[in-house]
């Protein structure tokens, strides 16, 4: 009897901590916080899947054994041939697909064969907005809440659409394209507010984040990321962890006079929300212009992470991944909220694979960096100082005006750009789609002309060590090292999806949609789509009870604009230097804009 009990206990233990036992370790793997580990409803209502940004579904019908049988269930054309970075959403029996500019929202009826279109909503954004979109006219997705679908338009409006009927509920203008302001991010809805930010870090835009009332679309609060404390919503409750972030009006004093007014720090990436701590997390973009010699100082509060009170916008802490950023390293990448044991104590952490090439594990209650481990070849920095929270910049790679500095790794889009990782609640691993690239950089003096680019750099990029440009990495957060990596010819610009079937999905820029084994990294299935993939895969349970996987094809974005914008490969500095590395993409894929949905037979 006692023995049986012991065996049962051991079996239960094995079930709970499988990987740690196999690896012979005592500490458990990090896990999703309770607010993200709710029972699976089979829907995919927001691009991040949940407030913790794990992009994990508990659906397990598609597993490592049968994924090889996946087949196309239906397809749908978005009617737009630009970069498709959006995530297809599923709520109830409807699927929502958002196109790049002109930002058309389609609703598909999943109860009918072939998922026919139920309605489309066209916000008709200003065509001129295309001229102030730095990196293709992308949009990173709609978001669903309270019977409405919310999304941003390229000409800086936010709209709320009735999810049932497709009727416009409200539409709010938040930016001016004549100042280079556009919007590309997916909003996040928490409590009764819609959180959105502005794009335009390459146009001297002064970045901000705003909260809109979910019912009226009226602005509730707005916080800038440069300028005086009052504008940034820094008050007595602002308690940053590091001394370099403490002081009055650092948003003006860490800049040359008035440079903060065109200082960037835009908000165009992923937001996270911790309902237990009631904290909203958002990153801030690169300081403007790219040429750092124009802006001596730490350039607060650009290229960092803010924790804010979602009710008031008040800042709680800030951590700057790239003080006085010298290489366009926005900090807008996903922030995955996890619980993990750190040096024997349970910690609420925020995991951020940064453009700098470091994967940060940060205590999300205080902003303390617990670890920062490189996941990309580095020459731009020589290490990370945990005492000050700063990476050690390699002085040899610092830009000098009118001189070409060579072999800087990672590149301007960073070790990893916007395309989000996925965290498997089951394996406890992080799946990171990223790049392997280096660049040459010459700083030149830029002119600020409102509504035109404000960059001041000539760049050309090329493959990093090994000659491949993309990597799909399974990362052990606790150990701070990779478990396995799949090399890809082109940079990875698509998001990742993790499922309980131990299958992880991602797409490549030459058009392969891949399913890999979550533990071994073995490619179990792949299917060639009509154009390159830079979208975000999602999965859902259809009205028929079966599991489906959805992805948009349609190459573009910064990396793929050589195809989507018909750039001339003879100019290596095109697309801010990306074309130098992407010449071959024109020979392997063409423009597109198609939704693909897969299922088992």
């Amino acid at each position: 009897m006692g023995l049986t009990r012991l065996v049962c206990a051991l079996a239960a233990f094995l079930l709970v901590w499988p990987s740690s036992l196999i690896l012979g370790q005592t500490q458990p793997q990090p896990s999703a916080p309770s607010f993200a580990a709710t029972p699976e409803d089979g829907q995919w209502a927001i691009p991040q899947k949940n407030y913790a940004n794990t992009r994990y579904s508990d659906l397990a019908e598609i597993n490592t054994g049968n994924v090889k049988n996946l087949q196309v269930a239906f397809t749908f054309s978005t009617g737009v041939n630009k970069g498709q970075e959006s995530a297809p959403l599923v709520v109830g029996t409807m699927m929502y697909v958002l196109s790049p500019y002109p930002n058309i929202l389609y609703a598909l009826d999943l109860t009918q064969a072939g998922a026919p279109m139920k309605w489309q909503y066209n916000p008709k954004p200003a065509a001129a907005a295309q001229g102030v979109a730095c990196c293709d006219v992308v949009n990173r997705g709609p978001t669903f809440s309270n019977g409405k679908v919310f999304f941003t338009t390229l000409d800086a409006h936010v709209v709320a659409v009735n999810a049932e009927t497709g009727e416009e509920v409200w539409k709010t203008k938040l930016g001016d394209i004549n100042r280079g302001e556009t919007m590309t991010m997916a909003p996040l809805v928490a409590k009764d507010k819609v959180f959105v930010g502005i794009s335009g870090g390459e146009y001297g835009v002064r970045g901000w984040i705003q909260a809109l009332d979910i019912n009226s679309g009226q602005s509730v609060w707005k916080a800038y990321n440069t300028g005086p404390d009052q504008d940034v919503k820094i008050g007595p409750n602002f308690k940053p962890f590091y001394d370099s972030d403490k002081g009055k009006d650092l948003g003006t004093t860490t800049w040359p006079a008035d440079a903060w007014q065109q200082g960037g720090g835009t908000v165009w990436g992923w937001l996270s929300y911790d309902p237990d701590l009631n904290l909203l997390y958002h990153g801030t973009g690169n300081p403007g212009p790219w040429n750092p010699n124009q802006r001596p100082g730490d350039n607060k509060w650009t290229a960092g992470i803010f924790a804010r009170d979602p009710d008031t916008g008040e800042a709680r802490w800030f951590y700057q991944t790239a003080p006085h950023d010298i290489h366009d390293w926005d900090t807008i990448n996903e922030m995955i909220l996890l619980d993990m044991e750190w040096e024997g104590k349970p910690r609420k952490v925020l995991v951020h694979p940064g453009r700098t090439g470091y994967l940060y594990v940060i205590d999300r209650t205080t902003g303390e960096v617990l670890s920062a481990k490189p996941f990309h070849a580095l020459t731009a920095s020589t290490g990370f100082d945990l005492k000050t929270g700063r990476m050690q910049v390699n002085a040899e790679k610092e830009p000098v005006n009118n001189r070409v500095v060579r072999d800087i790794c990672p590149t301007a889009p960073g070790a990893k750009d916007w395309n989000p990782s996925a965290f498997s609640h089951k394996t406890g691993l992080l799946y990171i789609p990223h790049m392997n690239m280096c660049m040459d950089w010459e700083s030149v003096e830029p002119n600020y002309i409102a509504g035109t680019p404000y960059v001041g750099a000539e760049v050309r990029m090329y493959p990093g060590p090994g000659g491949h440009m993309g990597e799909f990495t399974a990362w052990d957060i606790r150990e701070g090292k990779e478990l396995w990596t799949i090399n890809e010819r082109f940079p990875l610009w698509s998001g990742a999806l993790a499922t309980a079937g131990d299958v992880v999905f991602y797409g490549t820029m030459d058009g392969w949609f891949k399913a890999v084994h979550a533990r071994s990294g073995e490619v179990l299935w792949q299917f060639k789509l009509d154009s390159g993939i830079i979208g975000q895969p999602t999965t859902y349970r259809g009205p028929d009870g079966k599991q489906y996987v959805a992805i948009l094809s349609g190459v573009g974005g910064w990396a793929g604009s050589i195809v989507s914008n018909d750039l001339d490969p003879r100019d290596g500095t095109s697309a801010k230097g990306f074309v130098n590395a992407m010449r071959e993409l024109k020979n392997v894929t063409t423009k597109g804009g198609t939704l693909y949905v897969f299922k088992l037979p």
Partner: protein, 186 residues
Amino acid sequence: MRTLLILPLLAFTLAACEREDREYRSNPVTAESQEKIALVPLSAGPGGPTEQRSGLGKEYEENAFHISQGQRFYVWFNCNGCHANGGGDSGPALMDDRWIYGGQIENIVQTIREGRPNGMPSFRGKIPDDQIWQIAAYIRSMGRNVPKPAAPGRKDDMSPGPAEQRRPPGEVIDGGQVPPSAQMPQ
């Protein structure tokens, strides 16, 4: 007799004064050169569109000084921010043969001044007329649609590829295509 001599002299002198008053340079910001050009090769009725060129375009695009000035202004006015060094970025490539709004220098001058619907800003009143012509002349050199001796032989900054002068003579295909994103299905 003396009066007869003085009168023509006076007339000549006055005429010279008149010549001195002539404007060699137009008022830099407000004045605009007016060329009669069409945006399309198609016209109502046979014979093609009616166009009238003053010859100003030829003066600019066959002149190395103007093209070289244009190369500087191209960067000063942030043209390179959207069109890179001719390969394009958020704006279309300028070194290739596709010209959505016409590839003759007069078309390019008009595009810079008026702007275009899919994102090209209007620079009217922001760039002096002669500098617009110089920029347009430089843009013509990117696809080597200017005489080889007039095209720039080098660039001061990071080399994007062979200099304009070393590129093979280009051609201009008018019309291009409407960017697919501009077509809204409805």
